[in-house]
């Protein structure tokens, strides 16, 4: 097999080939790094690569396969990890200068899980600084390009993870999703992105942004790989007190079940003004596919949708302003030279943070400051409840909700960077799931005339990822959008 063929395999296929002796983990890693050396200069998906570590792990895995040891779920699969997820001994920067030289003394829960299932960690992927952004242009180090068109952004904030998977530079990746940061870049890069239910996956070792919203999720080439990676990372962890105690079900056993009779709700508020025409057509087209599979598609209403972005930019920034208070230059991270303690804090933060992070800290601090709390944070928390109620009412009538993931396909680099509010509105369809705490998945469902990927989102009930995956997988079996890869690069 040549490099391109090997790099096109899904994680599931790759593991089968490694287990049956057709490939060795070492060969896979060598071919992957050949691909990275060729594509990475164009894409810029990674902040740190660990070829040496990956080769070492691969050799250990090959020895274990030879001995016939029980293979992990990700035996020999190279995985990329977003650089806001701690990896022991491997630099973790959050794409921020303030953590430019930070080397975590411990692994995040999800990274422990990857290692326990014999995955190979390839490197750390680029993101908008501290996961704040929708284009990966807010990285403190470099922008990442979209593999389908390098003039376009890959989405964000997990843009590096999505671009790496799309360009065959990783078989799967972990991202984090606070307002759409897994689903939106997956959508714009033509891959699968899943945000699990809040509490399904431990946040231990994920650098906190908006603690009531953050959730780690898989970015993969198809839905089956997403189910496998979710299986690996889901489940209880006592180190995150918001992590659900209930064990994760077996997602793979129900993945290929028929979906006849499944009730799919299409919210009319998501097909309103501002939705790109080609996106509208592609997502509407999926309804016919689902009806053909025997699903019952009905129109529903989520009346508070239009308030979600406003609520989000209060809640997320308030939580961020509090979470990011820890970067003070005392125990780790960047420290500016200064003669007093307060000025050391203020100057370290001024020099260490980029402008979007400062803007959000300012907004969040303002919203929480004395005299404004009721008008902003409390008000937003109440409207957040109304948004959750919208979904709870909808789920009395339907099993899942279907809508676009992003109102537009990938936009050009620089196009929205000067206007923060316009950038924030990129996340209008993904934010509601974070506010309500429900799971959502983005899967490819078409291409624009310019050959840019279009994605649809399926949202489900709390802790019902199994139905979400089954419904997404049913579409994938009927179509071949998920098999397309960016032509120039593979």
């Amino acid at each position: 097999m040549d490099t391109a063929t090997i790099c096109k395999l899904t994680a599931f296929e790759l593991r089968e080939k490694t287990l049956s002796g057709k490939l060795t983990a070492k060969k896979v890693v060598e071919e992957l790094f050949a691909q990275i050396e060729e594509k990475e200069p164009l894409i810029g998906a990674y902040l740190t690569l660990d070829k040496e570590g990956a080769l070492k792990t691969a050799e250990e895995i090959d020895a274990r396969v030879k001995r016939g040891e029980r293979p992990g779920l990700l035996m020999g699969v190279p995985v990329a990890v977003k650089d806001n997820i701690c990896t022991r001994g491997l630099r973790t920067t959050c794409a921020s200068k303030i953590l430019g030289n930070f080397v975590p003394p411990y692994d995040a829960h999800v990274v422990e899980r990857l290692r326990a299932e014999d995955a190979i960690i390839v490197g750390k992927t680029n993101l908008d600084e501290f996961a704040m952004g929708s284009s990966t242009e807010n990285s403190g180090f470099k922008p990442t390009k979209n593999p389908w068109d390098v003039r376009c952004i890959p989405g964000g904030s997990s843009g590096g993870s999505a671009a790496a998977v799309a360009a065959g530079m990783a078989y799967m990746a972990l991202g984090s999703d606070t307002g759409g940061s897994v689903r939106q870049p997956a959508c714009l890069c033509g891959v699968v992105g899943l945000k699990p239910t809040y509490g399904r996956v431990s946040r231990y070792g994920l650098v906190a942004f908006g603690s009531s919203l953050d959730q780690i999720g898989p970015i993969t080439k198809d839905v089956r790989d997403a189910a496998i990676l979710l299986q690996v990372i889901a489940g209880h962890d006592r180190r995150d007190s918001t992590c659900a105690a209930a064990p994760a079900p077996d997602y793979l056993s129900t993945l290929d079940d028929p979906i006849a009779g499944v009730r799919i709700g299409v919210p009319k508020e998501y097909f309103a003004e501002g939705l790109n025409k080609e996106v509208h057509q592609a997502v509407e087209g999926t309804i016919r596919t689902y009806e053909g599979l025997g699903a019952n598609v009905v129109e529903i209403s989520l009346p508070h949708t239009m308030y979600a972005v406003a609520v989000y930019y209060i809640i997320a920034t308030a939580e961020a302003s509090s979470n990011l208070a820890r970067y003070d230059g005392v125990r780790y991270g960047y420290r500016a030279s200064s003669d007093g303690l307060i000025s050391m804090y203020s100057r370290s933060r001024a020099e260490g943070f980029g402008s979007e992070v400062k803007r959000r800290i300012m907004l969040g601090t303002y919203a929480l400051s004395s005299g404004y709390y009721d008008a902003y944070y409390l008000k937003a928390s109440k409207v957040r409840n109304l948004i959750r109620q919208d979904f709870l009412s909808a789920f009395e009538k339907v099993d899942v909700v279907l809508c676009p993931t992003s109102p537009t396909p990938a936009f050009r680099l620089g196009e929205r960077i000067e206007n923060p509010l316009e950038m924030y509105l990129s996340d209008v369809f993904t934010i509601p799931a974070n506010l309500a705490g429900i799971p959502g998945i983005s899967i490819p469902c078409g291409f624009t005339r310019d050959n840019l990927p279009i994605g649809m989102q399926i949202m489900g009930k709390h802790f019902d990822e199994a139905t979400l995956l089954k419904v997404a997988r049913a579409f994938e079996r009927e179509t071949d959008y998920h098999l397309k890869r960016p032509g120039d690069y593979l």
Binding site: G199, L213, G333, S338, K358, Y366, S381, A436
Partner: protein, 96 residues
């Protein structure tokens, strides 16, 4: 009427321990104003009978036994320190 003025920006920057440049002060004043104006639309909703939502998942207390466990050792924990003196993090003088 504007919501945000320079005085408010300076006060918030102090609370957030952020030293802002004159240019940042100017840009943030305009941008935060725009964002807060957009957020004003929440006022359209009557929420007098709505409970605030604090948790995305069901709120519950999480208890565990208070048992000693191994933790990260001192040397590992100090490795990322920008400045240290023995087993302590070193900072500029606080008290004269």
């Amino acid at each position: 009427m504007s919501i945000i003025d320079r005085k408010t920006i300076d006060h918030v920057a102090l609370l957030a321990r952020l030293e802002l440049s004159d240019k940042e002060r100017e840009i943030f004043t305009t941008q935060l104003e725009d964002i807060l104006k957009y957020i004003e639309k929440l006022k359209e909703l009557d929420t007098s009978r709505v409970e605030p939502m604090a948790y995305a998942a069901a709120a519950r207390n999480v208890f565990r036994e208070d048992e000693p466990r191994p933790s990260i050792d001192l040397e590992e924990a100090m490795k990322n320190a920008p400045s240290r003196a023995g087993d302590f993090f070193k900072v500029p003088k606080v008290i004269d």
